[in-house]
Every structure is written in structure tokens, then in C-alpha cells.
């Protein structure tokens, strides 16, 4: 479903992503792990077509992200690290707007909006202004925005960051429900989340793929924490501290 091949991204002299390749199959939830600054967000931005790669290709559902960008965009739902919300719009008008630019036909728009609101349990805030919503609701609106056009691929950049434990559980349940037919790429710092949700794990460190493996194989002998530290241990002592923060739930 998603094939990343020899992807490299340079910002001037800085190489953010170095010749990485991985793949996610249909229906899989792929956990995308790595310390801060490893290149996770850059990779996701390239897959969604927001940033161009310096070299290498990505194919989504068989479409090349450079030659058939519009086809790819139609099939991807993307939740960036900060949900892309217009603070002066209401939930309903925002989701309708997103639906329109995602190419949902006018006649199906109210229905699609309704469905996204229901899926993300936003009924009670439909007519509230986005700028006044709590962080949990904002995150859920971000998720609703990503799936309103019923995409076959979901790219979620740290969807549970900054939420309280209950909201984290809610969002996780939601992601699990949503996966089904969809392919999901999920970037996170919270390892238990990966253990609970993901079928496959890709760990990226300093712009290189450290490991790409199914979760069963990885955690057969070691816990996910130990696996993570093993693959990124060459540097970045910071990472260990961060992981323990995200341990509960």
C-alpha cells in the first residue's frame, strides 16, 4: 500500500533523511518510532506530498507521489503534529470546508461531515468555535479532518501528544477502529501505544532506518523499550528519559 524507496531529504547541508526504504501493507498499522529529530516528521511530510524529496520515490496505492500527486492526495488522510485548524471556524463549517477541498461531491458532503463527527465523537461541540475547544477535542477534530474523505491511508504524526490519559485511551481506540481496511502510519514516542496498536514497527535514527520488523518478532525476546534503546543507543541519551515519561496508560 505504501512503498518508500531510497528516500533522501537534504535541507542545504543537513541530511534529514538518508536513503530510507520501508513498506506498509494494506490494513497494517505501522508504528514509526525514533528519537526527536530523527526524521519522522520529514518522512511523513514527504509521503503526504507536503515536501519534495531530494531523491528516491514513494508510492501510495501504486501511485507515485511526484507524478501522480493528486491521486495520492485523494487517498491520504494526514494529521500533522499540530492539528491544522482554523481557529475562527466552527467544527461543522471547518469539516465541510475540508471535505470540499478533499474533493467530496457537494451532495455527499453533509453525510460525510456527519459521519466524521460521529466517528470522532464530536457531536456535543459541532457548533463550537475551534479556537475555544480543549486540546483533546482539537486533536479529535484533527483526526476527523484526516478521515472525512474516507482515505485508504492515514498518516498520524504523534496523535496522542499532550492529551490526558483518558483522551489517550479514546484516541487509541479510535485509531484501532479506524484501521480495519486502512493502512495507518503512526508516529509516536509512547512505546506501550505501539505495542498495543501496531502490527509492524519501523525505528528511524539519525535519518536512517535502524530496524523494520513485525511487532511479534521484535518483542519475542526483549521488551519494546529495550529494543528501542538498543537500536538508538549509539547516541541520544535524551531519548531514554523521554520514553519513561510516556510510559503510563
Amino acid at each position: 500500500m505504501i512503498e518508500v524507496e531510497n528516500l533522501t531529504k537534504r535541507y542545504g547541508d543537513l541530511v534529514a533523511v538518508r536513503d530510507i526504504s520501508f513498506a506498509a501493507d494494506k490494513g497494517q498499522i505501522l508504528g514509526f518510532l525514533g528519537p526527536n529529530g530523527a526524521g519522522k516528521t520529514t518522512t511523513m511530510r514527504i509521503i503526504t506530498g507536503f515536501l519534495p524529496a531530494t531523491s528516491g520515490t514513494v508510492r501510495v496505492a501504486g501511485f507515485d507521489i511526484f507524478d501522480q500527486a493528486q491521486e495520492v492526495r485523494r487517498r491520504i488522510g494526514y494529521l500533522p503534529e499540530n492539528p491544522p485548524l482554523y481557529n475562527d471556524m466552527t467544527v461543522w463549517s471547518y469539516l465541510s470546508f475540508v471535505g470540499r477541498i478533499k474533493g467530496i461531491p457537494r451532495t455527499e458532503l453533509p453525510e460525510a461531515t456527519e459521519r466524521a463527527i460521529e466517528q470522532c465523537a464530536l457531536q456535543e461541540v459541532v457548533h463550537r468555535v475551534l479556537g475555544h475547544l480543549s486540546k483533546g477535542f482539537r486533536q479529535r477534530v484533527g483526526l476527523a479532518q484526516a478521515l472525512i474523505h474516507n482515505p485508504s491511508v492515514l498518516i498520524l504524526d504523534e496523535p496522542t501528544i499532550g492529551l490526558d490519559p483518558r483522551q489517550i485511551i479514546d484516541i487509541r481506540g479510535l485509531i484501532r477502529d479506524l484501521s480495519g481496511e486502512r493502512t495507518v502510519i503512526l508516529s509516536t514516542h509512547i512505546l506501550p501505544e505501539v505495542a498495543q496498536l501496531c502490527d509492524k514497527v519501523v525505528i528511524i535514527n539519525q535519518g536512517r532506518i535502524a530496524v523494520e520488523e513485525s511487532i511479534e518478532t521484535l518483542t519475542a525476546e526483549l521488551s519494546l523499550e529495550e529494543v528501542f534503546l538498543k537500536y538508538i543507543s549509539s547516541d541520544q541519551p535524551m531519548a531514554a528519559a523521554e520514553e519513561s515519561e510516556g510510559a503510563p496508560a
Binding site: 503526504t48 506530498g49 493528486q70 500533522p80 491544522p84 482554523y86 477541498i101
Partner: protein, 257 residues
């Protein structure tokens, strides 16, 4: 086209759901009303004076178009130079800052549609602004007899001028994620285009006409005088086209950096 309208509608709505539109429109109309009142009072005073001098030649040469409507339009043009950058500074900068740029750029719409939508939104807003100022010539028409054609031509000029300003503002906004930088660079560009013909008189045979051609004021002035010349219309349309083309390039360039 549907995508263009979606973005234009979204931008236009956001002017009106935030206080921006009301503050800008109120300020604009307040200034316009003050200009209008003063110009009219001055006109009346002069009229009285010349009447008491019994000077029929001067009285004949005085008319509402030249003494009230034309200066009013010129004053409003200067107000637009200052207000339009405030309206357009959000256009791309705010999207970049708040992260919604990622939403637009990862949606199945083209960069051309985004730019066209942004322009159309600002264009519609300027249209409303200029339309509201039509009330002053309308008032004159009720109580006097100005030439309607000249007044309409002047309003068309103000409208074309405002639209060019919007295009320039959208371009400067596309260059940065900082609204202040977007507004200031737009203001400076517009002011420069406004006064670029000042040294034309002494600039020689080649540079002089060139500076005059580049100046917004010269073309605007023709329309205010009631002369609708294709050259002037073409000038404004080319400013819009050039600014939008540069916007397109600046947005696209991100994809190749």
C-alpha cells in the same frame, strides 16, 4: 473552480467571523465620510464666495466631479494603500504559522487553485469596500447633478486599484510566515508604486515616461478624470497577473527547495 470558490469563501468568511472586516470597513467608511464632509463643505464655501464676487466664469468651471468626487477618490486610494496590506497580510502567512498550510498543500487541489481562491477572497472584500463608498457620489446625485459616467469611471478605477493592491498583498504574504513582514513589505511596495512617477519630470526622455507608466497614480488619475482607456485597464490587469504569477512561483518553489 469549485476548489477556488471553497478557498475564497473560507477566506471571506474568516474576515467576517473575526472582527477584521468590521474594523477595516468601519475605519474606511469613517475616513471616507470625513473626507467627503470636508470636501463638500469646502466646495460650498468656495461656491458662496464666488457667488458674492459675482464671478460667473469661475462658477461655471466649478463642478462636483472635479471638486468633490475626484479628490475623494484620490484620498481613498491613499487609505487603501494603508488598509489593503492589513487585509491581505494574513492570506498565506497565517496559514503557514498556524499549520493549516499543510492541510491546503496536502489536499487534492492545485497551487493555482489555492492562489486563485486567495485572490478571489480578497477581491470580493475590496469589491464590498468600494461598493460602500459609492454612497457618496449617490448622495451628490440626489442633491446635485454630478456626471454619473465620470463618477462610475472613478469607482472602477478605485476598484481596479484595490484589486491590484490585493494581488501584491497576497504575493508578499506568500513569501513569509510573519504577518508584520508581509504587511510592511506590501505597504512599501504599494507606496513605491504610488509615488514612483515623482521624479518623472526631470528624469529625461526615456526614464520619465517609463516611471510614469509604472506609476499606479497616473493610470488611476485617468480613470478618475473619466477617461476609460484600455491602456490603463491593461496596466492594472498586468499588475494583478504579474503579482499572482509571482505568488504561484513562490508557493510552488517550496516544493523544489
Amino acid at each position: 473552480m469549485r476548489n477556488v470558490l471553497a478557498i475564497a469563501g473560507k477566506d471571506l468568511r474568516s474576515y467576517f467571523t473575526s472582527p477584521i472586516a468590521y474594523v477595516v470597513l468601519t475605519g474606511f467608511l469613517l475616513l471616507a465620510g470625513w473626507f467627503f464632509f470636508n470636501l463638500l463643505a469646502q466646495f460650498n464655501q468656495l461656491l458662496m464666495a464666488y457667488m458674492s464676487f459675482r464671478n460667473p466664469e469661475v462658477l461655471d468651471s466649478m463642478n462636483l466631479n472635479e471638486w468633490v468626487i475626484a479628490p475623494l477618490l484620490h484620498n481613498l486610494a491613499v487609505v487603501l494603500v494603508i488598509l489593503v496590506p492589513m487585509i491581505t497580510m494574513r492570506s498565506f502567512s497565517e496559514e503557514k504559522k498556524s499549520g493549516t498550510y499543510e492541510l491546503l498543500m496536502t489536499s487534492p487541489i492545485t497551487v493555482g487553485e489555492i492562489v486563485a481562491g486567495k485572490f478571489l477572497g480578497g477581491f470580493a472584500f475590496i469589491f464590498v469596500m468600494v461598493l460602500l463608498t459609492a454612497i457618496y457620489p449617490a448622495i451628490l446625485m440626489v442633491f446635485g447633478d454630478p456626471e454619473v459616467g465620470i463618477a462610475l469611471s472613478g469607482l472602477l478605477g478605485l476598484f481596479l486599484l484595490g484589486s491590484s493592491f490585493v494581488a501584491v498583498g497576497i504575493f508578499t504574504s506568500s513569501l513569509t510566515d510573519n504577518q508584520i513582514i508581509a504587511a510592511v513589505s506590501c505597504l512599501v511596495t504599494l507606496l513605491l508604486l504610488y509615488i514612483i512617477s515623482w521624479p518623472a519630470q526631470s528624469a529625461g526622455d526615456i526614464l520619465g515616461p517609463l516611471l510614469r507608466y509604472l506609476s499606479l497614480t497616473e493610470h488611476f488619475n485617468e480613470l478618475v478624470k473619466g477617461v476609460i482607456d484600455t491602456r490603463d485597464i491593461v496596466y492594472f490587469l498586468s499588475v494583478i497577473a504579474l503579482a499572482l504569477f509571482l505568488t504561484l512561483r513562490s508557493v510552488e518553489s517550496m516544493r523544489w527547495r
